[in-house]
């Protein structure tokens, strides 16, 4: 083997090794995260929130430095809310230990019937760390409106009482208090978990 051939061969081998390292270890780091909902880059922090849980007043500012997952629902909710809360519980399980820094809060859109105690019992049935909050109807109307949530009572059957139609999106607020992501009702626990993990960093 001549010297030139050696140089050429070792150069080729070097390039191949570097290429493989780049392909498998470096490039994946530059892959953008694909979100499963709508990302918002607002320069305004999320609307403030001060509502009552069975364990006292809950403010958004209580969770500074942590991620907040906000959902609007009610305890008499027949289908959409249980599906969503079960999905969020599964997402917390996937996230694992880091879920300590995630606060899942359900805001009642049925302040007439839901008491803080009922909400506590309801959300803890899905996950003992979930928080349920409510407030007087005027405050709830303001909070829901500000978070883009529509809700309206509608007649149900005698067995269910009235039902409340409501927007079923899940909202993610980052560690700095910015509302960053709106997730649709559709979508799996795995997708929700991977998006929340992105904000946990």
């Amino acid at each position: 083997m001549t010297r030139t051939t050696k140089i050429i061969l070792s150069t080729v081998a070097g390039v191949v090794v570097l290429g493989l390292i780049a392909w498998f270890f470096v490039l994946p780091r530059f892959q953008p995260h694909v979100f499963h909902g709508r990302v918002i880059q607002s320069n305004q922090t999320a609307p403030s929130l001060e509502l009552q849980s069975a364990d006292g007043t809950v403010r958004l500012s209580d969770f500074e430095g942590e991620v907040v997952v906000l959902y609007f629902g009610y305890t008499f909710c027949p289908d959409v809310c249980p599906i969503t809360l079960a999905k969020l519980d599964r997402a917390m399980e996937i996230i694992g230990d880091d879920a300590e820094d995630v606060n899942v809060i359900m805001v009642s859109v049925d302040p007439q019937r839901d008491t803080p105690e009922m909400l506590k019992e309801y959300v803890e049935h899905f996950n003992p760390d979930f928080i349920g909050v409510t407030g007087d109807p005027e405050t709830i109307d303001r909070v829901a409106t500000m978070y883009g949530v529509y809700y309206e009572a509608e007649e149900g059957t005698e067995a269910t009482g009235y039902l409340v139609n409501h927007t079923a999106t899940v909202m993610v607020i980052d560690r700095d208090g910015y509302l960053k992501l709106v997730l649709p009702f559709e979508g799996t626990a795995e997708e929700v978990a991977s998006d929340i993990e992105y904000f946990l960093g």
Binding site: R38, E138, D141, G148, Y150
Partner: protein, 223 residues
């Protein structure tokens, strides 16, 4: 320096520069509208007495305007702008996405469904693409004043002082444009131009191009 070296030193950077300029011309920089914040959720009543909610607007592009019943001259120019946008929206390719206009009255006391019907007729609002709406006063305060951030206040004579504003909301319920009353001749042009940018984003909402559009939001190439 030999001629050959000179060719390398000048030729390569020169070629790169030319390629760069060509790439810039071919892949025009993507323009996107900012995702300002969530538009408020609401449930109101339209001119026919039917329910109209923020969920009806999901999946559609909505232009919101605000007025009160007897606002006369105060509203003439803004109504004209909205009318012009309605007339010219056909120039814009929004893909499969519908465009609608919702004009919210913050004067429910006088703007009964009958009064709204009369106003709709004079505005040329068809009740389908362009609807007029109003509702409960305290809910309206949350929606218009707090949510859309459009200030209004009743004067002693029953008329209203308010900031004429138009708000553009996308199908995800995110505010993409806020237009405070300036010179309304250019406002319609601006809104049409912004609808065009929004249409481009919608048409590129899937596949590889969507990554470029999502990335553009992080680099804030806002018009």
């Amino acid at each position: 320096m030999s001629t050959r070296r000179l060719v390398w030193w000048i030729g390569i950077p020169g070629a790169l520069l030319v390629l760069g300029v060509m790439a810039f011309a071919i892949f025009e920089p993507i323009q996107v509208l900012p995702r300002i914040r969530l538009a408020p959720g609401y449930h109101l009543t339209d001119q026919s007495g039917a329910s109209i909610t923020s969920e009806d607007a999901r999946g559609k592009i909505t232009l919101y305007s605000f007025r009160y019943g007897n606002c006369g001259d105060d509203c003439d120019s803004i109504d004209a702008t909205v009318g012009e946008v309605r007339d010219r929206v056909g120039e814009v390719d929004l893909g499969d996405t519908d465009f609608q206009i919702v004009t919210i009255s913050f004067d429910p006391e006088r703007d009964t469904p009958a009064a709204l019907t009369a106003e709709a007729a004079s505005l040329g609002a068809d009740g389908d693409q362009w609807r007029l709406a109003t509702g409960d006063p305290s809910h309206l305060e949350n929606v218009v004043r707090a949510g859309f951030k459009v200030w209004y206040e009743e004067r002693d004579d029953g008329s209203f002082a308010f900031d004429p504003t138009l708000v553009l909301v996308d199908g995800w319920g995110v505010i993409r444009g806020e237009y405070e009353y300036q010179t309304l001749d250019t406002d319609a042009d601006k809104i049409i131009r912004h609808l065009d940018i929004l249409g481009e984003e919608i048409r590129n909402a899937s596949g590889a191009a969507s990554l470029a559009y999502e990335a553009a939001h992080f680099f804030l190439c806002y018009p």
